[in-house]
């Protein structure tokens, strides 16, 4: 798998990370180095091996269906750059 500059630009855009035009070649090269390194894993034969999902033999923790949280509008909104009438206020998103 090889990442070119336009793919790097697209990934950056999807992740909402601004990357200047002239930084793209270096970014693409870095992606390729990382992917190339990981690619080595493909050389391992894992036929019939169950994927390991955790290093400890744990079962997914579950909780009962009870309301134990919430009612903290002020705290939820505390870090918002703008909040009005209990809502987060964000720049207009038009469909």
């Amino acid at each position: 798998m090889s990442i070119d500059e336009s793919t790097a630009a697209r990934v950056a855009k999807l992740a909402r990370i601004r990357v200047e035009e002239d930084a793209l070649p270096a970014l693409a090269a870095e992606f390729n180095t990382i992917l190339g390194f990981i690619e080595q894993l493909n050389e391992v034969d894992v036929e019939g091996v169950e994927p390991m999902t955790s290093v400890t033999p744990m079962r997914l923790k579950r909780r009962q269906d009870a309301v134990t949280d919430g009612n903290q509008q002020d705290k939820v909104l505390a870090n918002a750059p703008d909040a009005r009438e209990g809502f987060f206020a964000v720049p207009k998103v038009v469909e």
Binding site: V67, Q73, F87
Partner: protein, 503 residues
């Protein structure tokens, strides 16, 4: 064994300017799990709360917060799967679906792309007596709902409420087995009915607790059969997805519009672009949601915060043991055990409450009479007052009492309706009311005979006319009924009048 056989309905055919076309429809239904708290947090799911008050830090995606799954939600997904006769996957896993939107603070939705909890099942969609479409279910997975954005409170800002963020949804994905707008609406209706029977989703479409994404494509007659034979999608047309519909009427209108739009493009030699569209009920049209296109690259990957979800077969079996009788089985049983028509059985099994009510009335009585009274008198009266069956002022025991009085011959059908109105508005025991208010039908032939004699003696001219024209006997019957306050047994009166007049 109950008879659950049926014939497939004909697909809808739309005549274009040049050719005939058929529709192919698949649906993704988002059904909100009827849980008290969210899928991965302990915040309430209650509708209509103050904005951002039902929000845990997990829902607001505060750094360092970790999701913990709500076991009840898992149970409801399994229960739904079992209700749709689907395979349950004892091992499923959660993935992150990445996209940016202000009402999605995590920047991703936790969903189940690669290993859903429920596999293939089916829904039988009734389209009239003995006609039904079998719609295959591809999968059901658990996922988080997003928040709500409000765009019309300020000209320059959008307002975001995270109360719905993280509420558990079951996404129920069908195969493209639906062949027309009416079938699509009926499919949603049937699924909603099953979910409500199971109690896993309240089915409230107005509040958005049940919403549908509809995939529509068109093809020429014969193409769909080729697809069914081979399961090769290349026989079908390019589909468009109409997002987020929460009204049966709009679903039908949107499909109709969208099919015609695609037909026009194809007949003019164009090509349908695969895209996401939004239905505008005010203009009755669908339009492209270009903003969603780029976001379609979701870069799914397994959620590292959550271990795979492993459940035990014994637990699934326990859930299965608590499943209620479902609509198809209940309807078939009502038809065979009570001799009801397809239509009456459908009406009475539309929801569990109506079915339970009817069964209580029909128990030990004539099923057809009970069905008539529940459907025609009770439902009609409740509708007039905007009541539903759960708030009916007449209990099954009271209605049963009325049916008993008719069966015994104590009251006529006409008096029964008056009695029903009294019970409905004033309450009370029907038998006692009949006794106390002297509503009992007179079956004593002596008393009726006396009334008949009186009417005949008082109207010699009418007697002559009736002898010449036997149809006029009805007038005497009417007079006798009037004289007895409607309490005389109409059949007895009829017989006596005919005999006395020598007809």
């Amino acid at each position: 064994m109950l008879d659950l056989t049926f014939e497939a309905p004909k697909p809808k055919v739309i005549a274009g300017a040049k050719y005939d076309w058929e529709l192919v429809i698949g649906m993704e239904i988002h059904a909100q799990v009827s849980s008290k708290s969210k899928l991965f947090s302990g915040a309430s799911t209650e509708f209509g709360a103050e904005p951002n008050s039902n929000v845990a830090f997990v829902d607001a995606a505060m750094p360092g917060m970790l999701p913990v799954i709500n076991e009840f939600c898992v149970e409801q997904a399994v229960r739904t799967g079992l209700g749709l006769k689907a395979e349950i996957n004892l091992m499923s896993a959660f993935d992150r679906k990445n996209y940016f939107y202000p009402d999605l603070p995590q920047g991703y939705q936790i969903s189940q792309l690669y290993h859903p909890i429920v596999g293939e099942g089916e829904v039988i969609v009734d389209m009239g007596a003995g006609i039904a479409r079998k719609v295959r279910i591809e999968r059901i997975h658990l996922e988080q709902d997003a928040g709500k954005s409000i765009h019309d409170m300020d000209p320059n800002m959008s307002f975001v409420d995270l109360n719905r963020t993280g509420v558990a949804l079951m996404e129920i994905v069908s195969r493209p087995d639906i062949r027309g707008p009416e079938e699509a609406a009926a499919y949603v209706g049937k699924l909603r009915q099953i979910l409500r029977y199971l109690g896993t989703c309240d089915g409230n479409m107005q509040n958005g607790n049940l919403r549908a994404d509809v995939n529509v494509s068109v093809c020429r007659p014969g193409d769909y059969e080729r697809y069914q034979e081979t399961q090769d999608f290349s026989h079908l047309g390019t589909r468009c997805e109409i997002k987020n519909m929460n009204s049966m009427r709009f679903i039908q209108a949107a499909i109709e519009y969208e099919a015609r739009r695609q037909i026009k493009i194809l007949e003019e030699g164009g090509k349908v672009d695969q895209e996401t569209r939004l239905y505008d009920p005010d203009k009755n049209e669908t339009r492209s949601m270009r903003s969603k296109e780029e976001a379609h690259d979701y870069r799914y990957f397994p959620d590292p915060d959550l271990l795979p979800l492993e459940i035990e077969q014994a637990w699934v079996d326990d859930i299965k043991a608590t499943l209620p009788e479902l609509p198809d089985e209940k309807k078939a049983r009502f038809m065979s055990a009570f001799g009801l028509t397809d239509y009456d059985a459908s009406v009475l099994t539309a929801d569990v409450e109506s079915a339970t009510y009817f069964e209580a009335v029909a128990e030990g009585r004539d099923g057809k009479t009970a069905a008539n009274w529940v459907i025609n008198e009770l439902f009609g009266r409740l509708k007039k007052d905007d009541h539903d069956i759960t708030t009916s002022p007449v209990s099954p025991a009271q209605l049963g009492g009325i049916v008993d009085l008719i069966a015994k011959g104590d009251i006529s059908g006409k008096i029964a309706k008056d009695l029903f109105e009294i019970v409905y508005t004033e309450g009370g025991d029907p038998a006692e009311i009949v006794e106390a208010r002297g509503m009992k039908q007179v079956t004593d032939t002596g008393a009726i005979e006396a009334a008949v004699d009186e009417v005949i003696a008082a109207n010699p001219a009418q007697v002559e006319k009736a002898k010449a024209n036997p149809k006029l006997a009805g007038w005497f019957v009417g007079q006798v009924m009037k004289a007895t306050g409607g309490k005389a047994n109409p059949k007895a009166v009829n017989d006596l009048v005919s005999a006395k007049l020598g007809l």
